[in-house]
Every structure is written in structure tokens, then in C-alpha cells.
Symmetry: D2
Subunit: 367 residues, 4 copies
């Protein structure tokens, strides 16, 4: 058991989630590497100190370079705004330090490409934070498909929908400005990553992206509220996706339906402990979608609880990520999703934005 | 209370449904016109006689012209194959007889146009058989949207999915031949009609239509297994639709989700007695999709049962159609959906087939 | 195909349901006997005439004896208040006429006993109207249990809950007076019958029955609002039941859960087209309750629709009853549930009322 | 921020859960007291050392007295078998150390009484581990009822059902021996505690407890498989409960339904992030059970995640307990549920066991 000093950039939503995960991951997974919460970086000394104290870090700073350069900081978690991802990652890799970066990888496709190059040049462990696909249910869905349990996949439908901007009177903030903070930048990456994890690469697509509420109290909205997509996967399956931050009533609508020739799968993150599975086997009269509750028989569930149906939650996904990141560092083996996988998501998004502007089908590989 | 002689073409799936509906509609709805099951027409004298006896018709024939011309047949229900729709309807209108025609209206857009022209020239009552939109739940959904209860509609998702051809080993039959019997011809019309009823006209669309299983025991498949669509409605809302006869696990997947600025609606025909409604009102902590069970407070439920939640079924939708058709005849007032409405569905399908072939957005009004 | 003249007592809720069923049953089930709506009886000449016209009966009367005695009335359906059941049934049997009687059979256990005796003495066909157990889903549940698919039954939970008296300000009416109109008289019989159909005879029980809202606008309430029961079945299974007319939010809460050693079943009449089935077979990871949609593979579904998941409704249950009654008459073979079966339900209720008063376990066979 | 040394007895199922909770609670809740994992005690030196290393404790022992007496162990968590609870708690209280004890409090009612006495004599903080009632959903349910949102409660149904012994071929172990390890000892306490938290004290009850599978591979079963109960609450509400470890298909069936005069609540731990709420308000047509997803608007959710519907899991309940225990110590104020509350649960169970043996209603206060 070896300690490893962790530095986290950002102490808000995701920064806290990663801090908690690093505090608990050892006890949950009996990891070989044990994180030490070494340093947290935030925008002001006061907020950094507040996070330090609250989450139990040793030290705090408002200077990201200081954190990256600190010799006791041996691995970096980037949970700061998207425009900072590239510069931080490049600095860390230059020092030979492993990096876990929140999604989307780069604020743009070119940033992502540069980050992949830096990661590969350094040989350092690198991962991107697509947490939702790490639930026991979604991991199990991946395995079922890979094992051919539902046959050949013929159709996929995915969505990432929430409603935090559904009310047109919700004021404009930094979230309503900048492509990277719009629905395609902020929400779509999760489901695009999920779709590729479940079905494989996306080869062609057509999309529509729009800002429904262009003016909000406090200013003009300069990024998108919703986007829809039709696509083809490399394996020939058709697919549809939808992304929205104005999907009234939807709170965590990371949801998918997958049709195969021998079965079907349905999942909705709002009921993250359930996977619905239909199998075309046995008597017609007994066929139906099964409500499978996750349990010790499913991936990465047992460390959280010995009882099936007892359930894991949002924070547990981040813990699984932390375990994977530590394992990548310890074993010096890439763990999915690497920066390369994160870049592939940016590529699909770039193709979608182009398809929306040009109103025509786009080949993803040309981006 | 006046009797009216009904002639039905076809005694199979839909022919039976309409015969039962005509037998029961008077008792259920206390209609002014009371149907008399006058004559049924089928492909052979033997099958016609079998239907006559089973459903309780006065007479049977295998000659559709004889049925249409019979003076005691005062209204015609067309439940025969799609290629027969036009010729029968035109003959009936020529004699001044009202026609109820199963969906899709014509086997092609030009057939539908001719049928609309004939209907209008005759001044006779005319209706198309889109039964699913007539459940108390879907009628109520229409009303909620029309009344602005969920605000401005920003997104629509619809599907009509079944799995009767999901198994690649299911043999080829007449259903796997001819565009009108494919998924776009047979299943899509229901949901396209539903989408237009709920949201309004579709102005632009792009689609993909494909045959997944091109060879089946017994022969080559010459029509489509599934189709997907993205569209814009006249009111500006975005939409996605999906149609499939190979949607493993789906039995009656006539389902839709509608997002508005003040609420949202979800419906799935597999649970036809439930409408899910979300309203952005009251305390955040108490908000959620409501599982509303249909009851006497909803359209056309009370005649079937005084108790809420007691449920209506498939056959009841056909009864509601019969009531509407009788009412149209009695009052000499068009009742939705008329042939005009049926033709509008063919138009959307024609645009979708073109969009799939040309791989580009199409303007519906140009078809 | 032979006609049979039907006389119905009562034209309200259940009277209408039976009239509609008799109008449609021939066309749906191709029955050997074809009902003719001969005569309806209601409390006043005006209401009787109104029902006659609305439902399409030949004649109307306000004198039940006239209906029973009429030679063209060849079979009787009793859908009048419970205190009338016995006298009407006895008169019909005396004339050798088959009787279908709405539940509960008699207004009291002794009435029911007398009715059974009269039925048996006459040799006439006799049935009781427990409609809910006749859905395709519940018929299929019975078959699964009988076939041992879920193993030995170890536990049963049933309820019949509605909320039409949940609001304490709902006025007193005839429904709030008289034991036979209370929850134990009016709602409990359905689920007690269902429990016995599914699991077998109830041997012992203890119960609590109470009037929660003793005073309502318009007067004092003299019958019960809710009742709960624990019981043992002859096969050794434990059980719990609950009955309520004040179950806020419940509209048609005829629901049960059945645990067996090899599987489990769940059903709720509010989703009457779904049966939930769990089977302890296969890999742990793939086990879950299956949402089975009723379809042609399930009992008595196909005559209503060829498509699975298309759904049957409340009225269809009454149609199935009508088919069974006609079949009993035609074949001169008893069809479940006979008056004997109806009496067994009254016996359980009598034991429950005694258990509640004496606050002790009761042996059902002693009643 | 002050450190506090934690000693945990037991390193298995619950011991691990509490170790993880103590590792993460500070970062999640920004607690004033910060736990230090000081010592873990297990049955052998090897297992204790294994737990120490895995969970990150400073020290390990197989001697519980050593742990209790160690001056750096400032608070004790008892997660060892039930027969050990009393002796450990008494020793800890004698030293003035706060104790958190897993449920059920004592292995018998008299043990529990002694533990309450010792706790009160010492003035030390004391809590019992009823974790399920601590989900945001169940906490919110408590609040809704307390605030009168659903009116007067008229009925309650609760269950704690799992199926880990549903298969008769599952071998006998320590879990199938000893009343405290049976269903009434092991599972029932959770729901009885829940029922009292939600509705209030139980005054009278009748119950049936039984061993369905008396012989298992490996030996005779000497404790109960399932138990059912009917009861009255102090507020007059009727209730039913059911407990089972052989409930085929149920994984975490901690579930309840609560009927009030103005609304109703439904909850199932298998979907722990959802609370179903029905309110008798507004238009009849819009009423239905709302599927409320827990979020920042609900108790104790926000520290885990800022997004609604993102979900909490099993381990998070233990974290909430840890926060409460630390708060009780810090503020020297009793936090529900104290040993007194735990003892009240044992009392109800004692009454239930007597009711089952004597087959008669029992008054809880006489136990």
C-alpha cells in the first residue's frame, strides 16, 4: 500500500465529488495506491482555503501552476472550467504526472487533439471523467452487448436531458455563454461517449442544434439549449440522440434504448439501479422486459454493498472512476476512457455542429 | 333513433374490430344512428359467409361492387388491403355513400389525393381510421397542449414500434412486400398522424428508411423494416420519430414524449390507460411526473365505465371511431380525421421516403 | 347459432355493462348462443324506457316479476341492489331460467346459502359476476400458479382499494348505509374471490373492519370504510388483505402479490394489461420481474385483438363473463364462479366481520 | 475542526460500511468533528489486520475490550453480532464513550432495556443504526406527514422483504439459527422503526411468525423465515406489515404505502431515489401519483450532489448516520434514533412474537 498525493483543480460541483472519492476510494476498493488529499486549487485564496478545510486537503492555493509543480502532488484531477483543461494537462504531462480530466476533454476539438498528443508523448496515465457510463447497470449493459446476448444491434436511442434551464426566466450566467458550456458542450459528451461505449464508433450523422430561449434576464444566450441527431454506427446500426437543458421534468435524463435481433435493453439514469432487459427466448407468454436490480452479480457493485437492490448513487460513480485512475497509474496500463476516447467525443460533437450549420449529413472521420 | 345499414369490406383483423364496434356502439354511446350489420365482403364466398355468421351480418358477398351498390348498405367501412382503398371509396362516393377508410388512406400519395377529391366532390362524410389517437389519454393530451397547460412545445419524440418481424427467421409474406405494407406504410402513419394532432403540421424533415433483414425464409423482403426521422413543426418545435416492426420487445410501442416550457407529457400505448404529466408549478420538492389514470374526467371514458382507473382497451378505440363516424353522418359535419387529414399523413411519408433516398432535408409542402 | 332472450335487472353501472356485453359478445367470441336484448327492468317506467332505448332492448318494465316471468326472457342477469338478489334468483330458478348474478351473491350469508340451494335444486346454470379475475393477465396468473411455475406459494397479499369516499366531505348516500354496501360488502368480495381463485380456500382469518368517517354531509355512515385481514390458506400459505373505499389515490386497486418458492407474481388492475413475473432461473445477473404485456398467448385475449400489448379494458371483462354464461347455458356445464363459489366468498366475509367484532382468529368453515 | 478517534467492532458487511462512512463523512458534510480511523476489532488477529489495511485504520485487534479501553478510541461503532451489543455498549458507557450500535439494539428486549439504562446513566451520546429511514426520500416522507400534507393518516402498509433464503436449498448457516438472526430479529426492526418514525407509536398488534423451510442442507433452521402483522398506531391508523427473507424476487423490499385523508405516499427502497406522492388537490383530471426524484430540495441530498435525480445509494445512508452521530457527540444533544428508540422496536417485536404464539392481539406497552 503506497500513498499518492492528489491535487485537484476546482472545488465546486465536480471538485468536491473527486475529493470525496479520493477520501473514500481506498476503504471501498482496497486499492494498492492510497490517495492523500495534498492540495486543492480554486479561483481565490479564500475559496481554496474553504475547500481545503471542508474536504480535508493538506494545502490550498489559487495558483494552478503551483499545484501542478508541487512535488508532493503526484497526480492531477482537473475539475476546473473547460477552457483551462488543455494548459493544465500539458503542464502536468510535461512534469510526467498522470492526469484525470473532467469531460469534455478540451474546450474544442483542436484542444483535445493537442491534449491527446501531450498525453501520448508523456506516456503518463490519462483518463476522462465520463462517470455515468460507470454505473453497475451501464457496465453490465456494455457486457451484455459485447457478449452478443441481445444479438446484432439494429437501433440505438440515447438522450442526455435535464431541465435546469427549462424556465425562460432563469437568468443568464456563465453557463449560457460559450459553446463549451452549452448543451452540446456540457451534456451531449456523456451520451455520445455512452453510445460509443455501448455500440461502437459513429461514422455518419446529421444534427440540429438550437437556442430556444435566446434572451434571459441578465443577458443574451450565446450557446445552445438543445440538439438532436441521427447517426449511423460502424456496425451498421441506426441511431437517434437528443440533448437538452430545457427538457422540463427531466432531472438526470441520461437514458438509452438498444434494440438487438435477440433482445433489447433500456436504461434511465434517473433509476440508475435498474437495467431493463428483454430476451427473445422461452415461451411467448412469459416474455417481457425484466426489471433487473443491480447487485453483487453486476460490475463494480459488490465493493459498495453485499446486498442486491440496495443501490449505488452518483458519488459512487466518481469512486469507481477514482479506482480506475489509481489502477491506471499503478499498473501503467491505459484504462478506458483515455484522452483518446475523450477526443473521439469532441470529434462527434464537431461533426454535429457542422451538420447543423450545413444542414447535411457529415462523415465523422473528416473532423 | 334511426337504423343505418353498414357494409364492411374485409373480415380479418380490422374488419372484425369494426364489426364488433358497430354491434356495440349504440348501447355504449346511445347514438342517434343505430348501425345494422348489413353486409360483409371478403375474398371468397366461404370466408365472407364465415365472417357473416361470426359477426352477425345479414348478408355476405365476395364482390365489393355488389356491397357498395346494395341499397341497404348506407355507409361503407373499408378494412381491405391498401391497394383497394381508392377504387372502393370512389365508387361509394359516386353513389353518395359515406366512407370510413382504414389507414393509410391511399396506397400512394396520388391515390390519397384522388380520394380526397372524390370525397369533397361528393359532399359525403369521410373519415380515416387512426384509432390510437382516440384513447381517452391521448385525447386528453391533445386538450392539455391546446389549452397551453404545458406552455409552448419545444420538443416532440414519437415512435410506433412493434416486433412482429424482429426474428430474422419469421417467413416472408404479403407483409414483407410492397411499400404500403412496410413499416413506413403500415406503422408510421399512426404516429405521424398522432404527432400532427398533438403538435401541428410538420414543415420539414429528414429521414432514413431501411430493410434490415433483406432475406427471409420464403423470399426476399421488398419493403422497409425501420425508419427514423428528424423534423420541424410549423410551431417551431423540433422532433424525432422512429418506426419499426423489428423493435424486439416492443408490442404496441405507439409512444410519445412532449416537452413544453411549462410542463411535459409522456404516453405509451402499452400502458394506454395512463398519461404522465409534469407541471412546473408548486414547490420544487413536490414536482414529478404524475401517473394519471384515465377516468370519467377524461374524454370519451365515461360511456365505457363510471369508475376511474378501470380502463379501456383496444376495441374501445374502434368504438369511439364508430361513434364519430355515425355522428359525422348524422350531423353532416366533418369529424377529424377526414380524408384530407389522412392525405396529409401520406404527404409526410412521401417526403420521408424522398429524404431517405436523397439523404437531405425535405420541405413537406413540396410533396 | 340460436338466439336467446336476455332480461337484465338494473340499467345503471353494471346493467349497462351487461347490456353492452350481450350486444357484442356474439361478434367477439362467435358464440353458439346469440343474445337478444329482450327486456330491461329499472325502478321506474321512465328510467326503464330510457335504458331500453339507449341500450337497444326490445322492451322495458319496472316490474321485475314481469321480466322474470316473460316467456321470451330465457336468461336473467341480476344487476340490481344486493337485497334483491335472492328473491329474483329464486323466482328465476323456479321457472327453470339460468341466472347470472352480480357480486356479492346474496346480501347476507344466509341469502347466499338459500340461493345456492335454489340453484342446485333447479339444475339451472348459475354464475356470479366477479369480472376482474377474468382479465387475460389474472387468468394467466391462475394458470401459472396451477402449473407450478412459481413453485409452492408461501405468501399472498391482496387488496381492493378505491378512493371514491376518501374525501370526508363526500355526502352520505345509499352507499354509506347497509353492510352489503360497505367496503366489506361491495369491494372485498372481488379480492376474496380472486385470492381463492389464485391460491385456494381460506381456512382461518383475523380481521379488523372500521368506519373512519362516521359522519358525512347528509347523515351518519352505517357501514365500513376499510378492513384489513390476515389469513391462512388451505395449502398453508400466509396471506394479508386490505379493502378500502377511502384509499386516497387508488382508483382501481385490485392488486395482488404472490410469492412462491420458485418465482413470484405481481398484478395491479390499474395496469390490467401487465403481469409481472419473476422466475428463479438462469444467471443471477439476468433475473428480474418481467413486465409481461398480455397478448394472443394469454387466455381470452385473441378474440379482442390479434396484436399483443394492444390491450383489453373493463368492458372486455364483462364480455368474457357473458361468453362464459352463454357457454354454461349452451353446454349445461357449470362454469366458474358458480353460486357455490359466490357463497364461499360471503362465508369468508362473515368470518371476517366476526373476527373484527370478537378480535380473534376465526375458522372459516364454522360460518 | 477537531479529530475524533473511531473504533469499530466488526469489519464485515456493516463494519466496512461504517469505516467507509467515517473516511468520507468529513469531506461530504464538512463536519466539525473529523473521524480518524483509529482501531478495528475482528474475531481473529488476521482478519482484524486485513480490515485495518483495507479500510485504512491505524491499528487492529481481536480483543474488543482493548479497543473499548484504548484512550485514542473516543467513540465506538458496534457492528458485531447482536449478542455482543450489550456487553460492549455497557463497557463503553462506563468509560464515558459515545456509542453507535447497529440494529437491532439488543439481542433481546431485556438486553435493550439494560442498554438504554446504561446509556442514560452515562449521559453519553447513543444512536442505533436504522439506515434506510435516512434516505432523502424517506426523510421527506416523514416531513410531509408531520406537516399534514397528506392529512390524517388512515392506513399504513410496510414490508421488509428480501429473498436471500428463498431457495430451500440454500444451506443453513449462523443466519438460520437464533431468534435475533431470524427475519423478525434481522429484517423486521428496520420497517418497524420506519413505521414508528413515519406514523408514530404502535399500540396494539397481532402477528404470525413462521419458519417455512425447516430443514436446509447443513442442518435444522431454528429461526423464522417470515412474519406478518396487523396493528394499530397511537393516532388511530390501521396498519399491516410483512417481513420475509424468502420473498422470491425481492432484493431490498423496504417499502411502504401511507394513506391519508388528503393524499398518499408510496416508497420502495429498490427505487430509493423516488418518492411517490398523491395530493387530492386541483382538477380531478390532473390528479395522479407523482414520481418525485430526490434532489437538493430534499433532506440531506445536496451534500452528495447538486443535481436533482442524480441519486444517492446505500453507502450514502451510512454517511448520513455518521454525520448524525458526530453531530450528537459534538453538540451533546440526542439525535434520533437513540437507544430508547431502538428499544421501542425490540418491544414491538417482543409483542409480535407473543401475539404469534398466543394467537391473540397484544398491547405493546405491556412488553
Amino acid at each position: 500500500m503506497t500513498e499518492i498525493g492528489i491535487g485537484i483543480l476546482g472545488g465546486g460541483y465536480m471538485g468536491k465529488a473527486h475529493a470525496v472519492a479520493m477520501a473514500a476510494v481506498g476503504a471501498v476498493f482496497d486499492t494498492a495506491l492510497r490517495p492523500r488529499l495534498e492540495m486543492v486549487c480554486a479561483t481565490t485564496p479564500a475559496s481554496a482555503e474553504r475547500y481545503r478545510r471542508a474536504y480535508g486537503f493538506q494545502r490550498a492555493t489559487d495558483d494552478w501552476q503551483l499545484l501542478v509543480n508541487d512535488p508532493k502532488v503526484e497526480a492531477i484531477v482537473i475539475a476546473s472550467p473547460q477552457q483551462t483543461h488543455r494548459i493544465v494537462a500539458e503542464a502536468a504531462f510535461a512534469l510526467g504526472k498522470p492526469v484525470f480530466c473532467e469531460k469534455p476533454l478540451g474546450a474544442s476539438l483542436s484542444d483535445s487533439r493537442a491534449m491527446v498528443a501531450a498525453a501520448e508523448a508523456s506516456g503518463c496515465s490519462n483518463m476522462v471523467g465520463f462517470n455515468y457510463i460507470r454505473t453497475p447497470a451501464s457496465q453490465y449493459a456494455r457486457r451484455l452487448i459485447a457478449d452478443g446476448v441481445i444479438g446484432e444491434v439494429t437501433w440505438f436511442r440515447g438522450e442526455h436531458t435535464e431541465d435546469f434551464y427549462a424556465d425562460p426566466d432563469t437568468p443568464a450566467t456563465w453557463r449560457t455563454k460559450g459553446e463549451a458550456n452549452g448543451t452540446m458542450g456540457d451534456l451531449a459528451p456523456h451520451m455520445i461517449n455512452g453510445a460509443m461505449a455501448l455500440i461502437g464508433p459513429i461514422t455518419e450523422l446529421i444534427a440540429e442544434v438550437e437556442t430556444v430561449h435566446t434572451d434571459r434576464p441578465g443577458g443574451r444566450v450565446t450557446n445552445d439549449d438543445q440538439g438532436q441527431m441521427m447517426c449511423r454506427f460502424a456496425n451498421g446500426a441506426m441511431g437517434q440522440m437528443f440533448f437538452s437543458r430545457i427538457a422540463t421534468g427531466r432531472k438526470m435524463g441520461y437514458a438509452y434504448e438498444i434494440t438487438g435481433t435477440k433482445g433489447a435493453i433500456r436504461f434511465d439514469q434517473e433509476d440508475q439501479n435498474t437495467l431493463w432487459l428483454y430476451l427473445s427466448e422461452g415461451d411467448d407468454a412469459t416474455r417481457g422486459f425484466r426489471k433487473i436490480l443491480t447487485g453483487p452479480a453486476h460490475p463494480d457493485y459488490l465493493p459498495f454493498c453485499q446486498g442486491p437492490g440496495h443501490g449505488t448513487g452518483y458519488q459512487d460513480q466518481i469512486l469507481i472512476e477514482a479506482r480506475d485512475f489509481l489502477r491506471a497509474i499503478e499498473t501503467q496500463t491505459p484504462v478506458w476512457p483515455t484522452f483518446e476516447d475523450g477526443m473521439a467525443v469532441n470529434q462527434v460533437i464537431a461533426a454535429a455542429m457542422a451538420a447543423s450549420k450545413k444542414r447535411s449529413w457529415q462523415t465523422v472521420s473528416t473532423f
